[in-house]
Symmetry: C2
Subunit: 260 residues, 2 copies
C-alpha cells in the first residue's frame, strides 16, 4: 500500500544524513513525497548513504525556499513539535493525528507532516502555517526525537491507520473538510487588505497583527464552508467600505469635511 497523498516537509534540516534517513523511513512506510525547505546541505553524499535504497524518494524531493511554498496544495499541515512553545492550533498525539489523516488521504486530500530544524524546531511564524500539531509521546526528561526517527514514527502511524481503515472495509467516516492551505492564504491576503482599507492595519507597522490573526484562525482549524462565510464577510465589509467611501467622496464634492 502506498501513501501517495502524504507529504513530508523538512524545514532547514542541518544534517544531510537526517534527510537520507527520513527518505528511507518514508519509503519503508510507502510514502514518497518529500519537500525540503532551505536544507543546509543538499544534495549531499551523506543523504544518499543514509537513504540506503530510497534514492528515488531523495531524487524526487523538491527544494523550496519557504514553508508556505512547501504547503501549497495541502488540505492540512500537521506540525511535529516536541515543545510547541506557543500552541497555535490543536495538539494531538501521533495515533490520534494518524486517525485524522488516514480518512483525508483516502478521500484524496493531501496532508503534510512538517518537521522543524534539529535543534530549534519550527519558528513561531512557521507554526502559524500549521493547521494542527502532533506530539509523539516521549519520556519527559529526554523528549527531542531525531528528526528521521520522528518521520519514522509518524509515517508508521499513518500506515497502520490506513491499513486499519482498509481492513475495516468501511467507508472512511465523513470529516469536516478543513480549508486548504492555499485558500487560507488567499483569505489572509484578503483579510489584510480589508484591515488596511478600513484603516485598522498599517502594513508599515505590523506589530505582529497578521501573525496573531493567523494563530487565531489556525487554532480554529477553519473548515471549507466556514472559510466561504469568512470571505463573504470580508467582501461585504469591502462593499460597505466602498459605499462609505462613495459617501465620503460625495460629501467632499458637496464641500463638507470628510470624517473618514
Amino acid at each position: 500500500m502506498l501513501l501517495p497523498n502524504l507529504r513530508v516537509v523538512l524545514v532547514e534540516t542541518s544534517h544531510p544524513g537526517n534527510i537520507g534517513a527520513a527518505a528511507r523511513a518514508m519509503k519503508n512506510m510507502g510514502a514518497s513525497e518529500l519537500v525540503l525547505v532551505a536544507p543546509e546541505r543538499y544534495p549531499d553524499p551523506a543523504a544518499s548513504a543514509r537513504a540506503a535504497g530510497a534514492d528515488d524518494v531523495l531524487t524526487a524531493a523538491r527544494v523550496v525556499a519557504t514553508l508556505p511554498e512547501a504547503l501549497a496544495g495541502c488540505a492540512c499541515a500537521f506540525g511535529a513539535s516536541a515543545r510547541p512553545r506557543h500552541i497555535v492550533a490543536e495538539v494531538m498525539d501521533a495515533r490520534t493525528a494518524a486517525s485524522r489523516i488516514a480518512p483525508m488521504l483516502t478521500a484524496g486530500e493531501t496532508c503534510a507532516l512538517v518537521f522543524g530544524r534539529e535543534r530549534t524546531g519550527l519558528t513561531n511564524a512557521e507554526m502559524a502555517y500549521c493547521t494542527q500539531f502532533v506530539h509523539i509521546p516521549t519520556h519527559p526528561g529526554f523528549s527531542s526525537l531525531n528528526v528521521a526517527a520522528a518521520v519514522q514514527v509518524l509515517c508508521y502511524e499513518v500506515r497502520v491507520a490506513l491499513l486499519a481503515l482498509q481492513e475495516s472495509g468501511e467507508a472512511p467516516a465523513p470529516f469536516d473538510r478543513l480549508a486548504a492551505h492555499d485558500d487560507m492564504e488567499q483569505f489572509y491576503a484578503h483579510l489584510e487588505q480589508v484591515l488596511i482599507e478600513i484603516g485598522f492595519h498599517d502594513p508599515q507597522r505590523p506589530r505582529h497583527l497578521m501573525r496573531r490573526l493567523r494563530r487565531l484562525f489556525a487554532r480554529a482549524a477553519v473548515e471549507q464552508n466556514e472559510l466561504a462565510i469568512l470571505r463573504g464577510v470580508l467582501s461585504a465589509v469591502q462593499g460597505g467600505k466602498q459605499m462609505r467611501r462613495t459617501d465620503a467622496q460625495l460629501t467632499q464634492i458637496s464641500g463638507e469635511v470628510p470624517n473618514s
Copy 2:
C-alpha cells in the same frame, strides 16, 4: 514514565552510528537497558555522536559475546525481523506485541526486543532463542527498516501501550506467564541429556536435532506451568531409565545379557 524492564538487544551491529541512534530512541521512550552482542565497532565516536544526549544509556550498555548471554533473566524475547525465513515462533505486528509486552513489564517481568544485523538480520540459531517475533508493517517493496528506526517504532509502541494501561487504571489482564529464558535453557540441557541417556541423540552427530526441538518449543511459547510438566516428564524418563539400568545391572550381575 520509565520502562525499566524493557531490554533492547542489538546483535552484531555493524555501524556504531546505529548503536548511538538506538540508544537515543530508547531514551526518548524511557527505556535504558541496552545489551550489545558482539558489536563490530564499539565504543566508537560515531555511536556517541548519534546518541545525542543518551550517552548514559550508551555508557551503561553491556557487551556480551552471544545472544543467550544477552537474554539471561528475560521472561520473553521478541525478535524483530523483516523477513523471518524460518518462522520459529509466533509472529505478530508491533502493536499487538506491545499489548503483550506492556502487562508483562507492569508485572515486573523483563522483556527483550532483539534486533539482528543490519544486512542479514538474525541467524536461524539466534531466532531459535526468540520466544516470539514482531513485524513492523512496511511497504512490501522496501521492507527493511534501519535498525535504530525499528528500535524507535517498537519502543514507541511499548510506551504507548504502557500509557494506555496506566490511563485505563485497570489491573493488567492476567497473562499466561511464559517460561523464562533461563528456565527454558535448563530444560533444553535437561532434554538433551535425557535424549543422550535413552540413546536417541548422539551429541557428536547432532544433525540439528536440538535446534529443531528448540524451534518446536519456541513456537509453542511454553508457559511456566507447562515447563514444570515437561521437566517432570524428563525426570520420570530418567527415573525409569535409571530403574531400567538398575535392572540391567542386576541382570548383568545375574550373568544374563543386558538388552538395554
